[in-house]
């Protein structure tokens, strides 16, 4: 615990996420070739790049769903790649939202949100439910608390998944293509929730192809290709004053349609 405390005491200016020189290989395939990522408090960092460039892998290294082959990850100053760190304790502080929602289909919306509150944070039933209702309200779905995932639209399911992540009061939320599996008319509602979340000061790392959203909401855009960061800067810098040919051709491709 003291680690965390000192981390927080000096922490106001500590980056929320600090990943240093991350390498990751799957067998012979080197997917990440030394990627570093720093995310400051309340920052929204956007990661773009072609399929297979390692975006998801990078994101998953930040909460150790993927164990980096080498490199260091710090969360608010605490080195979580160090030996003996209780990763389950750390993960409470890192929310994650997946492309395919991954809601638990056998539980109602509120059941999905309360599970970790009850089992990880050990809240009693009443406190967990209150917390869950609060989180569901934030995504505008408190009236669907008793609905099961199969009774919700894709957009609603993703918003419940966001509620599940933010109910834990994490210090950062990682989004892996949160709108890619959605019908176009449902994308807006999820982006709106993400925008609200940003307004409320949440630190966020978002992998997505929603370039318009990136331009409006991102503090920083990172372009990855082939397991490295090719280009990084404000949306203005990356989208308008593009430096690299690879970035340019990628942007041309995704903004085409």
């Amino acid at each position: 615990m003291s680690d965390t405390d000192t981390g927080r005491a000096t922490g106001r200016r500590d980056p929320v996420v600090e990943a240093l020189d991350i390498h990751k290989s799957f067998g012979d395939l080197e997917v990440l070739k030394g990627v570093s990522l720093t995310v400051d408090p309340q920052e929204l960092v956007f990661i773009i790049g072609p399929s297979g460039s390692g975006k998801s892998t990078m994101l998953r290294c930040c909460n150790l769903l993927e164990q980096p082959t080498s490199g260091i990850v710090r969360i608010t100053g605490e080195e979580i790649t160090a030996k003996g760190v209780d990763i389950n304790l750390v993960r409470q502080r890192i929310g994650m939202v997946f492309q395919s929602f991954n809601l638990y289909p056998h539980m109602s919306a509120i059941g999905n949100v309360t599970l970790a509150l009850r089992r990880v944070q050990k809240m009693d039933a009443a406190a967990a439910e209150a917390k869950a209702h609060e989180a569901l309200s934030k995504v505008g779905l408190d009236h669907k608390a008793q609905s099961y995932p199969s009774e919700l639209s894709g957009g609603q399911q993703q918003r419940v998944a966001i509620a599940r992540a933010i109910a834990m009061e994490p210090e950062v939320v990682l989004f892996d293509e949160p709108t890619s599996a959605l019908d176009p008319e449902l994308v807006g509602s999820v982006l709106e929730v993400m925008r609200d979340l940003r307004e409320s000061g949440m630190t966020m790392v978002v992998v997505s192809h929603e370039m318009r959203f990136a331009e409006q909401a991102a503090d920083r855009v990172i372009f990855m290709d082939g397991g490295v960061i090719v280009e990084e800067g404000t949306p203005q810098q990356v989208f308008r004053d593009t430096q690299h040919e690879r970035t340019r051709s990628f942007l041309a491709r995704v903004t085409d349609h």
Binding site: R91, M96, S100, V120
Partner: protein
């Protein structure tokens, strides 16, 4: 054909009136056996499947060996080992306990394989979502994976349970006074086979609802695919 002989041998109602308390005792013993063995076998099966799914090599090899062992050995042989063998090994376990041990291990190896298939049918994202909120692997298994896995293989589990209940009649061979055993005993008392007909009827009444449940589950699974 002498119908009177057939009636006396197989449908002698008066014999049943005479021995029905013994048959009921046997029926109750079968019920107790099932109430012990089904939950125990199922729980142990869940544990086996859970450990298996964690892919810890040091645990998996002995586990696979044990499961293969219990699946290849005929239940009757296992039963004889436990009923006559455990006391020899110095564990003075009553016949009922020895029978429970045998059926628990036998059925757990089958339940385990079924549940393992169920676990493998659950998308990887479920475990990842659960772990990303800080649940341990075991917690994720218990609260997220197993409930879905069990539901996905409900027909196979029901079918296995049906087989298990029927298989408990093998315990009659080692003199456990369960339903079939009491049928045989009372047959000897009344000198006709009517009690065995009664035994069949009791099994039918007991298992028919489960057979119905099974077809309903199977139909539901078919339509949900």
């Amino acid at each position: 054909m002498d119908w009177e002989v057939i009636r006396f041998s197989f449908f002698h109602w008066e014999s049943i009136q005479q021995v029905y308390p013994l048959l009921l005792d046997g029926w109750w013993m079968t019920i107790k056996l099932c109430l012990a063995v089904v939950p125990l076998g199922f729980t142990l099966g869940c544990m086996i499947a859970t450990v298996h799914s964690f892919h810890v090599r040091m645990l998996n090899y002995p586990l696979i060996f044990a499961v293969d062992f219990f699946r290849s050995i005929p239940p009757l042989v296992l039963l004889i080992y436990t009923v006559y063998g455990l006391p020899l090994l110095g564990w003075d376990v009553p016949a009922f306990g020895a029978v429970v041990v045998a059926f628990t291990f036998n059925s757990a190896s089958y339940y385990g394989e079924i549940i393992r298939a169920g676990i493998e049918s659950i998308p990887k994202g479920q475990m990842e979502a659960a772990r990303s909120t800080g649940l341990t692997r075991l917690q994720a298994m218990i609260h997220v994976i197993l409930p879905q896995a069990v539901r996905n293989v409900a027909p196979d589990l029901t079918s296995n349970t049906l087989e298990l209940i029927k298989a408990t009649s093998i315990a009659s061979v080692v003199a456990l006074p369960e339903l079939l055993r009491m049928g045989r005993v009372t047959q000897g008392l009344v000198y006709n086979a009517t009690p065995l007909i009664a035994v069949a009827v009791i099994y039918l009444i007991m298992l028919w609802p489960m057979v119905r449940l099974l077809s309903r589950l199977e139909r539901r699974m078919m339509s949900s695919r």
